[in-house]
Each structure stands twice: as structure tokens, then as C-alpha cells.
Symmetry: C2
Subunit: 323 residues, 2 copies
């Protein structure tokens, strides 16, 4: 079975169809198409998001222990709350498990999920279990915004583009896990143990520092592309400024660039900032942020070498529905 | 592949494990173990519930058109909101679809779901799509309570036990769909087109008429058993008072009883009422309610014939994890 990172191309077409559905609910401030929906209940804003991890599509069961898989399922969903500048409060977990699975494994998965949630101030309040051929871990999170929610749609020409942390290590880790590259077991942690940038997202929302934000799940270029389309702008990325993960140093420049730009699963935040607001960017210990480019008028993404020359990179989002 | 109605036995064990997780979040008023969780966000109560329909476990794709399958996925989940006396407000839909599926089928399923939701005042605000061998339709609903939420745990000895609508037609319909019984196509609607008793649940909560409630998904006896265990009581059901679906008339008494008591998928409401509050039970057009028995001290369920003699019925919950 082919296993690839979470794909979004046909899912994008699907999301477009969902967006075209009749709306008209005045309590839906932002519907389908961003990292979370923004709704109002009892006069207060809530963030709602759902995502699923499917065995042999998004992960393999033997890659990690059940508790680690549960922790990762929480983190990748919490990343969507982080990208909106919120804090996760309540989680629901819908599981499909193969019949061969021991109850103890199921328990460890759920306990890993619940412990990761609890560490972020989020309570697991609902769940269901069905049998099926393969694992499917579907998570819904209810979050509360910290200040004004960050959307994908607020970037304007002239804004600086920032990314948190480092890029490419998760994609390299996935290739090691798939046996396509050699590497140390410790190098797989970047894929298996992602961290949602909840502290950074909340701080950006509180400081009103960012004009737009998104998390890096599909790859820097694809996710920056989503942000640009939602904002009606383009972007130029400076290849030399990208915060390459140190583990990529041993690779040829071309591969390093490819993993950092199109690798995905980093769960870092991309955000845009008006020039004069750069000083508002929160300075958090252990969460470096790097200016990697600039928003420009028009549309499309360009990646530029230090020489100023445009690099011929392709935006590659994996599509697991492609035939 | 064996296909059976939504099973809950091992799921029950799973839910028990979830309940045993550390809690301590003061915004979680009621965690795992009822039809919905009750949480507080911004000082207001919300109801949260999640459930999944898995192809060839809970339904077969060819049994209905995609729009009908979408409508049913909403109704089955809305029934959990109805059982708590709430109204569904926001829905999230996590889909796993086989690669062979045409985009038009996917669209029809989502539109059927969204239309059913909208008709109940609920907006579809989030979704995701993955590929997999079989369909999996995982739904999360966020509801608002109408008055005090109805729980499973408030029944006391002496309360009358009521059920809405009629029983057994959905289970008969499933057997027709499975080819195990002969019947008319029109008789399959009871399975394919369930109605969540949202109006009744909300009216019961507003009138403070019921001491406890649950919906009939697994079967009258099993679900009444959940209510009794949560309340620390037992119950006696009068077989002659059960509101058998008229389509069961042609069956032998024994089979009729079995389908009404253990058939499941009716999505009616079971609720308990203190004797002196029976007059508060809301009278809704086209939603009959029937007193079928009484809560008694102790534990366990008994089913009694008109003669007073106890009928030897077994509480059968289907368990799709059973080997």
C-alpha cells in the first residue's frame, strides 16, 4: 500500500464543495475553509476543527507505540487550533479499530491522547469505537480563541512572511520510517512527536501581531499557497532564509530545499506581519521564528535564491485520491 | 462480511475505560458515558457528541442513495442531542471514502447531510476527507441545551417509563435489507430514514417533565438498561403495553417481542417521569408517547406478560468486536 503524508488536493476540491453549500447561519462567523470554523454560542466565540488519521494512508501502526500514536493524533489536530490563535478545551475521539487489536493497545492509545490533551488544558469528553479493517482516528476539538482569531485571509502586499521552528525534519523522518532513506531512530521523532505551536498562536492572537496564519501540515509552499489564495495575494520566499532542520545538513542542497518546501507534517506556524508590527511578534523561549519572505500583489508563489534568481520549484501537495 | 446493527458491548467496555481517565476540569459538567457530554464555554452549557457509521458494519453503501446515507448520518447523531433535550447547532463531518467513489456521490452525501442539519437549525462548519478501503462517516455535533439537560442518571423507583413512537420497524427493515426476511421496499424506510426526536427532547427539557432519558439505538432493553445502571435502579416493562410498529403485526408474537425489545436503530426516546409529573409530558402532534413500565428499586430489567408472569427475554446487544 502506498503511504504518503496527509494529502489535500482532492480534499481541497471537497472543501470547495462544502463552502458552496447554503449558509446563512448568523452564528457561523467563519465556516469551512480555514484551519477551524469560528462559531458563536451563547455570545462567545468557539473554534471547531476535525481531522482524521487513517492507518496506511497517514501513518503505519508499527511506527510507534499506541500511546505515541494517540499523542500525535492530538498534536496534529491541536495544530489547527494553534493556527487560529486559540486554546483547545474539549476533545472528542472517534475510533475505528481492527478486530485483532488488544484492548490494552486501545487503552494505551486513548490514554496517550487524553494525556496530551490534558497537558494542553483540553479534556477528552466523548468517544466512540467501531470495528474496521484499519485504524481510523478521527478527532474533533472545541477551542476558545485567545483574542481575535487568526485567519488565513488577512495578508496584504508588503507583509513579511514568518515561519516558526525548523522545516523538513518531519518529511525526512517519514522517509526513514518508510525505509526510503537511512537514518537514526532518533531522527524519526520529528514525524512521530510533533508539537502544536499553541503558545505561539495564542501569543500572536493576544498581541494582534499577525495579519494571517496557517499551520504547515501539507508543506510550506502548499500551505503558504492556501494563505495567499485566501488573502488574494502572492508571495516571494527567500530560499537562503529558510530555517532548515539541522538534520538536513548532510543532504544535497536540492533535496534539502525540496524537503523544507514540500515535505509537510512540520506543524509549524506560517504567519504574516505588517512591517511596522514586527516588534509585536512575541518572543518565546524555544520557539524561534524566522522571516522567510514577503507578501506581494497578485497571486502565486516564487522561491528566490540569494542571487535573486527564481528557483524552479514545484508546489507539490500529495493527493491520496490521485489515481 | 457480517453486517449488524451498531454494536455497543465492547464499546461499553471502551467507554468505561474512558470514564476512568483523570478528570478534574471544572468546565466539564458531565464527561463520557451519557448520550452527550455537557461542558461549559463562556459560562454557557454546550452538548458535545460524536459517532461514526462504518460501511459494512453499520450500513451498506448500496442500501440507499448517497444523499439518504448523509441524511441518516445526521439523524442518528442528532438523536443523541435529542436524548439530552438539546438542539443541534454546529456539525463537523469526517469522511473516509473509497478511491473508486465519484466526486458526485461524495457531494450528494455531504449535501444530504447538510440539508438534514439545516432543517434542524444546525450548520455544517467543518469537514475532512481521507481515502480508505470502506466508507466511514464520523460526525460530531455541538448542541445547545433547551432548559436543564436530560441525563441517564435521574430515574428513581416509582417513576413511569415512557417511549416515543413505535418499536421494531427499523430492525425489521434491516433484516429485509440484509435479505434475511421478505418485505416491501417501503418497509425499509424505518431503517433508512430515522427521525431524531428533537422536538420531544427539547419539550421534555423545557417542561422539566422527565427525570432521565436516553435514545433507542441499540435496542429498548439494552438502552433502558444503560439508563437504569446510570440511575442505580431496575425496571419492569409490560410486554402488552409496548408500542409495536404496525408492520410487525404479521409476525408471530415471539418475533415481534424480540424485534421491539432487542431490535435497535429506532431512534425513539425512552424517558422516565415521576408519577405526579405525568401531566407535564408535552403533547406533540405526530409524536405519540406510551407508558411501558415502571422503575423499581434494585437493578436489572424484567419483562412481564399481561398475566403478570415474567417473560424469559434476554438483553441482546450486538457486539461487532465479539470473535
Amino acid at each position: 500500500l502506498p503511504i504518503e503524508r496527509a494529502g489535500r488536493l482532492s480534499e481541497l476540491a471537497f472543501i470547495e464543495r462544502l463552502r458552496a453549500l447554503p449558509g446563512g447561519d448568523r452564528d457561523v462567523e467563519l465556516g469551512i475553509g480555514d484551519d477551524c470554523a469560528i462559531v458563536r454560542a451563547g455570545g462567545r466565540r468557539l473554534l471547531l476543527t476535525t481531522d482524521a488519521l487513517v492507518e496506511d494512508v497517514h501513518f503505519r501502526w508499527r511506527w510507534d507505540g499506541p500511546a505515541g500514536i494517540g499523542r500525535r493524533a492530538f498534536a496534529v489536530n491541536a495544530s489547527d487550533i494553534a493556527a487560529m490563535g486559540g486554546t483547545p478545551r474539549f476533545a472528542l475521539l472517534s475510533l475505528v479499530a481492527p478486530k485483532r487489536v488488544a484492548t490494552s493497545e486501545l487503552s494505551r492509545l486513548v490514554r496517550g491522547f487524553a494525556a496530551a490533551a490534558r497537558a494542553s488544558g483540553c479534556a477528552l469528553v466523548g468517544g466512540n469505537l467501531s470495528s474496521g479493517a484499519r485504524w481510523m482516528i478521527s478527532v474533533t476539538l472545541v477551542g476558545e480563541p485567545c483574542g481575535m482569531p487568526l485567519r488565513r485571509s488577512g495578508a496584504r502586499a508588503g507583509d513579511l512572511v514568518y515561519v516558526s521552528g525548523q522545516l523538513g525534519a518531519a518529511a525526512l523522518a517519514r522517509e526513514i520510517l518508510l525505509g526510503r532513506r537511512r537514518g537514526r531512530a532518533s531522527e524519526t521523532a520529528a514525524f512521530l512527536r510533533p508539537t502544536a505551536r499553541l503558545e505561539l498562536g495564542a501569543a500572536l492572537a493576544r498581541a494582534r501581531a499577525a495579519t494571517a496564519a496557517i499551520d504547515v501540515s501539507d508543506g510550506l509552499l502548499q500551505d503558504l499557497g492556501h494563505l495567499c489564495r485566501a488573502s488574494g495575494v502572492g508571495a516571494v520566499v527567500e530560499a537562503e532564509r529558510l530555517p532548515y532542520a539541522s538534520v538536513l545538513r548532510r543532504l544535497p542542497r536540492r533535496e534539502r530545499l525540496e524537503l523544507a518546501l514540500n515535505g509537510g507534517e512540520d506543524y509549524e506556524l506560517i504567519f504574516t506581519v505588517r512591517g511596522q508590527r514586527a516588534e509585536r511578534i512575541p518572543s518565546l523561549p524555544r520557539v524561534p521564528v524566522t522571516a522567510i519572505g514577503r507578501i506581494v500583489p497578485g497571486s502565486g508563489l516564487r522561491v528566490r535564491a540569494a542571487s535573486g534568481e527564481a528557483l524552479p520549484v514545484e508546489v507539490r501537495g500529495f493527493d491520496h485520491f490521485r489515481r
